[in-house]
Amino acid sequence: MKKYSDLEFLRLTRGQKILYRLASFFAAIPRTIGGWFVALGRFIGNLFSSLGRGIADLFVTFRDGDWKTKISYLIMGFGSIARGQVMRGLLFLLFEAVFIFYMVTSGGYWLSMLPSLGKVGPHEEYDVVLDAYTTAYGDNSFKILLYGVLTIFFIIAFIYTWRANIQQNKISEQILRSGKKLRSGKDDLRSLVDDQFHKTLLALPLTGILVFTVMPIIFMVLVAFTNYDGSHDGFNNALFGWQGLANFRTMLTWSGSGVNYSATFGEILTWTLIWAFFATFTNYFLGMFVAMMINKKGIHLKKLWRTILVLTIAIPQFISLLYVSKMFAKNGIVNGLLMDLGWIAQPLPFWENPTWARVTVIVINIWIGIPYLMLIATGILMNIPADLYESSRIDGANAWQQYTKITLPYMLFITGPYLLTSFTSNMNNFNVIYLLTGGAPTNAAASGAAGSVGYTDLLITWLFKITMGADSQYYLASVIGILVFLVVAAITLVVYNVLPSIKNEEDFQ
């Protein structure tokens, strides 16, 4: 593709400009995708080379170090204590003691069970005292998976700390050799509120994220490769075990007979994408339009209009959504009113007919979304320099031209990242769908699939329904979760890489 310089680009006609932009957008896609693989390859390469360097460094440090350093390879913190940094040394030593204690008492067990996820399931056992067979419980697959992963984390943390302990020795030796003094424990404490303050600040939030976000995600990704469900809960009724890629095969390949998950998945994914598209762009343009109406010169009571709209943000969504959903029910107010007016003879099938339901959901979502967009757009519109409009008016531009040439490009530029995140969060917009329709009307064609699929179900509500259903096929839910992640990540990466506000940050400033 021919690349134009800025001057050449400005000389093009409008149609040519649009074509050029589109072409460069699509031309950028293969390049970006190629770019990821290059980046990924470089990342892995770097990882290995730095790993190799790290190991080589360990040997060199051992060879060149004094006896204090050498002992520190076995007894962590020894060097620090011997050189007078007692507090640091003791912390290292404590960590090593805790690690060894944990690995001996339970970590070893979890780790050894991880490949099988448990050997002895619940079984009948003869109880001498009761003189009857009772259920005896064996291993717990769930705990094995959970604590097995945690143990691996712990081992990685230990190796990292062990290496830090050796580095510490190396640095201390260098400092002492150059004749300077080492930092005291008091200095260390002071640095925690000063130049190491970020570590203090991040300790709590990162622990929380690690335990309550990273761990569960890793666990659930692993569940996709097991047969964990309601009847294999890992302890009470049966163990679960590794299944390899079987669950992904169930979800993605076309099977001629029985339940056809791939067709159901495709159908729901298509609707999810359609929904996200309309939910994002109808809100975006209508919200912007409303903001412009309220902002227009000569319109009074601006504050009142905004307050009325913002009311919908303030009131908890579950109230408004549940209520609105009942308003549109067969015997709800909307149908009642229309029938009283004599406009319709039969209640309209807002939630009963697939197409009606899908359109109604999108329309109600406009009602939910406009206030947010109105707030965002108002702030940005006020920031557009007024002289841009002034001079364009002198040049004879009409309102529509002002909108397409000034307002829209400016808005799109500033809110590009917002549009992207709102698209992806709409794909996962559980509340609006679940509280409005619960996925209804039921999709009879997909009746064999788990989780009673409906026509307005998004992937995320389907996932939820599967886990809450009678069989709770957690493994299927987690396959869906992974696939959602892949779709969202792909969209994000492609758009992110071609978004103008990220590529040329200075354009409008």
Partner: protein, 289 residues
């Protein structure tokens, strides 16, 4: 010439008047559409003659019956639960979010870029997935069903560091020269935060408290999971959701409306008082991306 200009001026004025009238009509229409559901909820909460859904809005018989029934139901418990959750979440989450966003805005340390990228990727996973594990873990800790309140607080607060974007955007706008000046005068990093930055960051602190306080009132999925089937551990959203299911809607529909009013009033008042901060937060975050 002059006359011509005058005419053109008049023409412009007339067209402005027409367009403004159209806009007013649209705005009034919109206001009606936006307010109708809320007006309906309020009106139906005072309906006495029947408790199920009906096709008309204005009650034939007015009274406080639904509110009295509300007072005598589990709703009191749900309301208290939600309030406790909201209070604790607001306090703890604010601390966590501010720590996170301030650090990412001000410090340049080795893992910073990697950390932000990691959180971006984590954010792309549907968080519903994590709930299955969290439920089992909390169950082992004894923090589900009847004890769902501390469990919910723990989960909300622990993962809240991910939502640092908006307040980081705000901290980015506070000039760094302020920090540097204080550092030269001998302040530690911690003193810079408490003495210089926090007083300037009032809007974002209030915004964070506000959003953290409001979120638990609307949380449905996680709360449903964790309080699963036990009325005494539910929050208002989960409890009131059950009132609209087929088996209960006949007796509870007007109670739901009354409950909706009782929940919405304090949250709405709070929101309206702090709306200015909310707008600043939202727009700041959106622009920064």
């Amino acid at each position: 010439m002059n006359e011509h200009n005058e005419k053109r001026h008049m023409g412009l004025k007339a067209s402005t008047r027409i367009s403004n009238t159209v806009i007013y009509i649209l705005l009034i229409l919109m206001s009606v559409i936006w307010l109708i559901p809320f007006i309906c909820i309020v009106l139906q909460s005072f309906r006495v003659e029947s408790t199920w859904q009906v096709g008309y809005v204005i009650p034939r018989q007015w009274g406080w019956d639904n509110y009295i029934a509300l007072w005598n139901s589990d709703f009191k418990r749900w309301y208290l639960n939600t309030f406790i959750i909201a209070l604790f979440t607001a306090a703890l989450q604010t601390v966590i979010v501010l720590c996170m966003s301030y650090t990412l805005s001000r410090f340049r340390f080795k893992m910073r870029a990697g950390l932000m990228r990691l959180m971006l990727i984590l954010g792309l996973f549907p968080n519903m997935l994590a709930m299955i594990v969290l439920y089992r873990v909390l169950k082992d800790l004894g923090l589900t069903q009847a004890n769902a309140v501390p469990g919910l607080i723990l989960v909300y607060v622990a993962s809240s560091g991910m939502g640092y974007y908006v307040s980081k955007g705000f901290f980015d706008t506070i000039p760094k020269s302020l920090d540097e000046a204080a550092r030269i005068d001998g302040a530690t990093r911690a003193q810079v935060l408490t003495k210089i930055i926090l007083p300037l960051a009032k809007p974002i602190v209030i915004y964070t408290i506000l959003t953290a306080f409001m979120a638990p009132w609307g949380d449905f999925v996680l709360a449903r999971y964790i309080s699963f089937g036990t009325s005494s551990g539910m929050n208002v959203a989960v409890g009131m959701y059950s009132w609209l299911q087929l088996d209960q809607i006949g007796q509870r529909y007007t109670m739901f409306c009354a409950g909706g009013v009782v929940v919405a009033i304090p949250v709405t008042i709070l929101f309206m008082c702090l709306q200015r901060y909310y707008v600043e937060g939202v727009t700041g975050g959106a622009v920064k991306g």
